[in-house]
Amino acid sequence: MKSPMRLAKAEDVRAIGLAPAAEEERKPRLLAKLKELRGSMRSLAVMLDTCVKCGNCVRQCHSYLGTGDPLNAPPARADLMRKLYRRHFTLAGRLLGRITGAEDFDAQTLDAWLTYFYQCNECRRCAVFCPLGVDTAEVTIAGRHLLSELGMVPRFMQQVALNLQKTGNNMGIPKPALLDSVEFLQCEMLEETGLAVKIPVDQAGSEILYIPSSADFFTNVDTIIGVAKMFHALGASWTISSAVLEAANFGLLFNDSAMRAHNRRMRQAAEELGAELVLQGECGHGWRAARLCTEAASGPVRFRLMHVLDYTARNLGRLALRRLSMRVALHDPCNYARAGDLIDEPRRILRACVEELVELAPNREETFCCGGGSGILMDEMMEIRLKLGKKKAEQIQAAGRIDYLAAGCSICKAQLPHVAAHYGMPDLAIGGVMDLVGKAMDMNRSTGGV
């Protein structure tokens, strides 16, 4: 099945610094890059060799379970790269061919890669269930990097990358628009609380640089409001930077150089503003990229790095929170649970903010992806996105009546409303964790000082 995903045109690919390969150049370039990538990634090298096809991961993969497509089973998906690797880079594959699972590049190779590497949400649930530690996301992310090295990039990703180049955020918000939004949000908070809660922009000398998700200024305003209220209550010295208004780092999900470039924006902004602590906002893969990749991409760095949920959980004692009378279910975003070590923090926060916290099953390290993970948020992919969200929908349905689904990740927040509507829960309220902190906070009693 060919994917409906639209690819960026050659000139648009060039605009983000990538070089499209001509038809006849594709195979040699792909093989050369695969060799290089395998040489520089121990994970890829070992994972292409060790899968024993035990099949334990197959029924753990929401993508396979949701789409029913055999090629979405993690081992089958990884085999799309493995067979090429076997054919060209192993003795057995060169000599014995198909018996060893080796197959050469053909007219379908790249279509299959584009289709199936972009139906893997890079959620890494398979890695949790693999006794050998094979993380299919390492293979599919590597596959996406390789495709981008041939100039094959989804239009959606290309647009995000272009926006990042121009404005430092995915949405393409320029500074004047940001200042307008901030002004508006400050007015809202003044009206609600009677207090001058600020969202400082580019404030040099701040102790904390907060990196929000740019969607917080459009659809998820309650998240940034919650964060601003918390900082206000704690009396924290903080700022956002108009140069890096984006916790997400889509480069992680399609091109390594783009990932590094965005990561360096964070370091540069922190250094320019003199921030001692960088706090990442509600974004799953962005937290993975910041936490695990900053050292390689921008290191060494002089600031501390934390996630806003960790920071909030540590400061719960200093916030005056009254429990909202709500039954709230928590969705563990993949990258918090399987890359970010953020499992207990959102729970501690929610227990302080709401009367009833409901667990989805399975949860924590075994959480199912929302189906939008790794930036599969393209409109043209909607039909597939809904299938990818099927397992999550079943989990939410099984939780019974809930007033709010807390999903502390911008991609989840963008994807889950579609999933909820499609699977018969159109009225389900979905939002971040910090949103509830903002709502539960008694602003007149919270006084902190840092």
Partner: protein, 255 residues
Amino acid sequence: MFFFGYILPYAAAAVFVVGMVRRTWDWLSRPVPLPLTVSSVAGGRRARAAAVAKELVLFPSLYRGDRRLWLSAWLMHASLLVVLVGHTVGIAFAAQQFRYFGASKEASVWLSGAMGLLVGLVFTVALLTVLYRRAANVEVKRISGPDDYLALVLLLCVAASGLAMRYSAEVDLAEVRTYLAGLLVFRASPLPRAWLFLVHFAAVNALLLYFPFSKLVHLTGAFVGRSLLVQPPPVYPTPADGPTAAPLFSQGDRP
């Protein structure tokens, strides 16, 4: 027969050892530019080693996913390990090892044989279960290639011929022991002529030759793979002696 008895075993052992060392070295010599930690393990190196060891001794990931698969896979691996230890001890002590625990000579031989039979049967049944699952479960069948069956068939040949040797009056343990001891010290001793032994020995050699070129490299790959998932995440601010960045592609980073 000279080739079979005195060249092939050395060649197979060399291919196995050199192949596995090279393969493992090949993985370990590659950098890990971006950690892929799934969950951090508190408590440093020893705790991480313990986490990897727990996974590789008990297979909890399989247990969480599919209990029947866990049972057959665990029994298959555990019984193979016991078979290997049993071969080493039983052949080295000529089945007299249990005399050290107070058994009589006859009792030790009987016990050694009985244990070998039991564990060999467990191994064979586990292999058959895994093979059946691979062929009968449509989802597993779809992801299986010829090499997945080949590895199982080779192991089954080894197991079945080994079990059959127990019921062959032809096979003489002392003769086998002398031959193998000769191989170990590079002194040629007569190759036993019992055909079941020859089949068993040939299957083992074929397995060793195939091993480093197949998925069986997960023997060491499992350690490498599982370790990657519990790597400690980087620390910020970067310590003064912190590691430096390694690019994924050699041309470095584009602007």
